[in-house]
């Protein structure tokens, strides 16, 4: 008998235990080859078998070497609970099982001497979401008839771009007493109120990114829905930059400036303007933290697009050279506006924070009228890679912060001048239309979403610690990996189809919410349409409390 060493890692220390039924296993090996984390392996066990061959019981025993599947006892190759083994097993012989006794958070730090990193969303979820405590309670009845979601037409568009106060519009009257425009106005694009949020071509596999781009093009060109997609920080394939489909892309610049060398070089060859520019300052899932693309995800095409070697790519947590909000306006906004000759709206994305209203106020008072949107990202947002401590313990919920920003604008009579776009866990329950609608009623012009789009594609991760391995480059469903074998698990066309279908369903659901409140255009700021049975929530959001 071996000496027991308590420090040895065993499956019981892991967050997931692999349950294996040898009697059902046909030893086909599918699970082992499909496990991208190498968390299970083939092994030979010495087994004792008791048998009897004669007419009367004559127990004999035999020892034999039997091939079996076992969980790897290694903290670097632990089971993430993704369930791919279960998915591929023809005989239901294997499945991960959550281990409530896991010692992984401690063990991993002790053995690695490094912080835990992962992808996904915040996993410390204790209470019901605020959005689920809100209902659309102002239903039109009698004198104010509801509209008909099927029969009436709805204007489902939201602004992206700086909107001038009416008194600043450069209008003059002509001889026929008609208004004419005398000077250039800031560019404003009216787009679908749900933007597919910034997931970079490094964070996503090339097939996933392509599938999203295809879905967006299809939604625009075949379904008449002007949905926009943000590139994320990491550039855009040059072929796309030079194509007419660029008009559906919002190009993002973050502190690493990744991909912008190629974008700038492609500018003379662009046949369309991009849909917008988004300056990323922070991200809700890991506020105060920069981008993180680990070397094992920096594949050849990413090196090509970003112009970098295969190495960990870290975007600093701040933009070097920007030390104030005013400076950001003058330097970044002005230069990006100028770069596209003031034809393309430039917006900013920040992580929701206790200070968001101050930042927003400064931008709202921007004297140059060049801040084209305030994208506010809450704590429930997803990420491809972050330190777990940041993911779980930093950040600010989006709902009240969005509301605070909107009301700050209302107090100054400036609502709508900088469109507010909100994100952070929206659609977490699968119902983005309801979440987006409530955010819009609280003052958002629109919302952006990322993690939900991954789930449309087949992401198996959840907020209970399942998978969350986007950072490893070993995504078992080919979404956040650059391993060719894994990427090819993803069916590009089916992913695109899922996204398109989801948006079509969501569009119908939007109308089903707009019709009962009698609105044919988006009810931005119509908080009177919302009620809450939670007094504290109602008070904080300044909406009606009901019971």
């Amino acid at each position: 008998m071996e000496t027991m060493k308590v420090q040895n890692v065993t499956p019981n220390d892991m967050p997931w235990k692999v349950k294996y039924d040898a009697s059902r296993c046909t030893l086909c090996g599918s699970c082992v080859s499909a496990c991208s984390f190498r968390a299970i392996e083939c092994k030979v066990e010495r087994r004792r078998m008791v048998f009897s061959e004669g007419d009367l019981p004559e127990p004999k025993q035999r020892f034999s070497a039997v091939p079996v599947i076992r969980q790897v006892k290694d903290v670097r190759h632990y089971c993430r609970g993704c369930g791919i083994c279960e998915k591929v097993c023809p005989n239901d012989a294997i499945a991960p099982q959550r281990n409530p006794d896991t010692r992984h958070p401690i063990l991993s730090r002790c053995l690695g001497g490094d912080s835990i990193k992962r992808g996904g969303r915040k996993n410390l979820e204790a209470s019901i979401r605020t959005l689920d405590k809100l209902r659309v309670g102002r239903i039109s009845q009698m004198t104010d008839p509801s509209l008909d979601a099927q029969r009436h037409t709805f204007d489902m568009l939201a602004p992206f771009g700086r909107i001038l106060p009416a008194k600043a519009l450069p209008f003059s009257l002509d001889s026929q007493n008609l208004l004419q425009v005398e000077a250039t106005m800031p560019p404003v694009r009216w787009i679908y109120p749900v933007i597919i949020g910034d997931m970079s071509i490094g964070a996503l596999s090339w097939r996933m990114w392509e599938a999203v781009a295809m879905a967006v093009a299809y939604l625009n060109e075949e379904c008449g829905m002007p949905v926009r997609m943000c590139s994320g920080e990491g550039g855009v394939p040059v072929r796309l930059l030079k194509s007419r489909y660029l008009k559906y892309m919002i190009l993002q610049i973050a502190s690493g400036h990744f991909g912008w060398n190629r974008i700038v070089k492609a500018m003379p060859h662009m046949v369309e303007d991009p849909a917008g520019i988004l300056i990323k300052i922070g991200q809700g899932a890991k506020p105060g933290d920069g981008g993180l693309l680990q070397a094992n995800k920096v594949a050849d095409h990413i090196q090509e697009i970003r112009g970098v070697p295969k190495a960990d790519l870290l975007s600093p947590p701040n933009h070097q050279g920007l030390y104030s909000i005013e400076e950001s306006v003058q330097k970044m906004f002005l230069s990006f506006n100028a770069a596209f000759k003031f034809r393309v709206p430039v917006a900013i994305k920040v992580a929701a924070s206790a200070t968001s209203v101050s930042v927003f106020n400064n931008l709202v008072r921007d004297p140059y009228n060049i801040v084209g949107g305030f994208f506010l990202d809450g704590i429930d947002g997803g990420t491809g890679a972050a330190h777990e401590v940041s993911l779980d313990h930093t950040g600010h919920p989006i709902v009240s912060k969005l509301r605070d920003c909107y009301l700050a604008a209302v107090n100054q009579g400036r609502q709508g001048q900088i469109p507010l776009w909100a994100a952070g866990g929206l659609g977490k329950t699968g119902d983005l239309a309801a979440d987006a609608f409530k955010m819009i009623a609280l003052g958002a012009s629109g919302v952006f979403t990322g993690k939900l789009v991954l789930q449309m594609a087949g992401c198996v991760g959840n907020d209970l610690g399942r998978c969350n391995a986007c950072n490893t480059g070993l995504c078992p469903v080919g979404i956040t990996t650059q391993e060719p074998a894994l990427v090819h698990r993803l069916d590009v066309d089916r992913v695109a189809q899922n996204i398109v279908n989801y948006f079509l369903a969501m569009d119908t659901e939007f109308k089903k919410l707009m019709a009962p409140i009698g609105n044919s255009s988006l009810p931005v700021g119509r908080s009177d349409a919302l009620i809450s049975t939670d007094k504290a929530v109602a008070d904080q959001l300044d909406i009606q409390y009901v019971c």
């Binding site: 039109s140 104010d144 208004l179 100054q412 044919s520």
Partner: protein
């Protein structure tokens, strides 16, 4: 639901005509009040057209307070009319002790001033009076403007007419434009200020309908102008938007329609003036109204107009003779006061137009 009506004539007409216009529509309102605003006054006010008339319902204390304030501000009273009342027993009316129609000359240092300065002064004065009388409900100040009088009261409109002897036509109390409505704001508390028509600096508006963007309108309007106050009714927003678009922004009336019910983006895109219309829609998104309604409005130059919501969920009809144009929620009211008109020339405005009547009674239809 409200019923609204307006009369514009080449001749001075008496308010009895407005009462008759509304009488047959009473099944559509609830007989809870009567309110009217008269522009372009005849009779006893005709020779004071250039001087502001104060329309107010108040207590004795309220009257004293208001007179003191006006005196202190330098206004000099040149004419006063106290309507003779007939307080028969059994009338359904919640009458105030005093109904004041007083015409004033401007303070000396304003008399040769710019019209704009006088207009701002009159608004400030009315707001001050309202504030002073509002706190202990000593009075309600409806308008203080040249060539305009307002009467609002709670009760049955027929009884209100009897009380003020408005059923008996005379040539002393007349106007060329009268707008009227017969319902208090029964959705909420009964407040005298909540009855349309509403008035601000020469602009009058009254509406039949709901404004589902009320909150958005209110939140935006509160910061736009000091005169945008009260908001006792969602229909006040229609007036304030009219005032803002036409007076503050100096845009022609036709653009009012583009602000309150903007064209869908798909239609905007096909327009030659899409750049202007889109900028308007963007910048004034908070002034959009998004519910069923019909609006009747009067401009300071006495142009009368009407327009509807974008889905035409509220009715309105325009009937006319050579001398009179009547706008009303229901055609039965027009039949009562213009029985001999050619009804084939009646206009049923559609959801994408403004029908405007100028002082020569020329009817213009501006397609949005």
């Amino acid at each position: 639901m409200c019923r609204i009506g307006a009369i514009k004539s080449l001749n001075y007409v008496h308010p009895s005509l407005a009462l008759k216009l509304m009488e047959s529509q009473q099944k559509g309102h609830d007989n809870s009040g009567f309110a009217m605003i008269m522009h372009d006054l005849g009779g006893r006010f005709e020779s004071y057209k250039h001087l502001p008339t104060l329309s107010m319902a108040c207590t004795d204390e309220g009257l004293k307070r208001a007179e003191d304030m006006l005196h202190e501000a330098g206004f000099q009273r040149v004419m006063q009319w106290v309507p003779e009342t007939d307080p028969q027993p059994g009338l359904d009316i919640h009458a105030m002790p005093n109904y004041v129609f007083q015409t004033f000359d401007y303070p000396k240092y304003y008399r040769k001033g710019e019209p704009k300065d006088k207009e701002e002064l009159l608004l400030d004065m009315r707001l001050q009076l309202r504030k002073a009388l509002e706190q202990d409900e000593q009075g309600f100040v409806y308008s203080f403007w040249p060539d305009v009088v307002t009467l609002k009261e709670i009760g049955d409109p027929r009884d209100i007419g009897t009380y003020f002897k408005l059923w008996e036509p005379d040539d002393k109390f007349t106007a060329k434009v009268i707008t009227a409505q017969c319902r208090q704001n029964t959705n909420y508390d009964i407040v005298r200020y909540a009855a349309h028509p509403f008035f601000l600096q020469g602009y009058t508006a009254l509406a039949n309908g709901e404004n589902t963007f009320y909150l958005k309108n209110v939140e935006a309007q509160r910061n736009l102008h000091r005169g945008y106050i009260g908001f006792e009714s969602d229909s006040q927003c229609f007036l304030y938007t009219l005032h803002y678009v036409h007076r503050e922004l100096c845009w022609p009336l036709r653009y009012y329609k583009h602000v309150v019910t903007p064209l869908p983006f798909s239609e905007l895109d096909r327009r030659e003036d899409k750049e202007q219309l889109l900028a308007m829609r963007q910048s004034l998104a908070n002034l959009e109204i998004n519910g069923p309604n019909t609006i009747i409005g009067v401009l300071p130059d006495f142009t009368l107009f009407t327009c509807c919501d974008a889905k035409k969920l509220r009715p309105v009809v325009v009937g006319r003779t050579d001398e009179t144009v009547v706008i009303s929620s229901e055609v039965c009211g027009i039949n009562d006061i213009l029985p001999d008109r050619d009804w084939e020339t009646d206009i049923y405005p559609h959801e994408r137009e403004i029908v405007a009547i100028d002082n020569s009674l020329e009817v213009q239809r501006w397609r949005q």
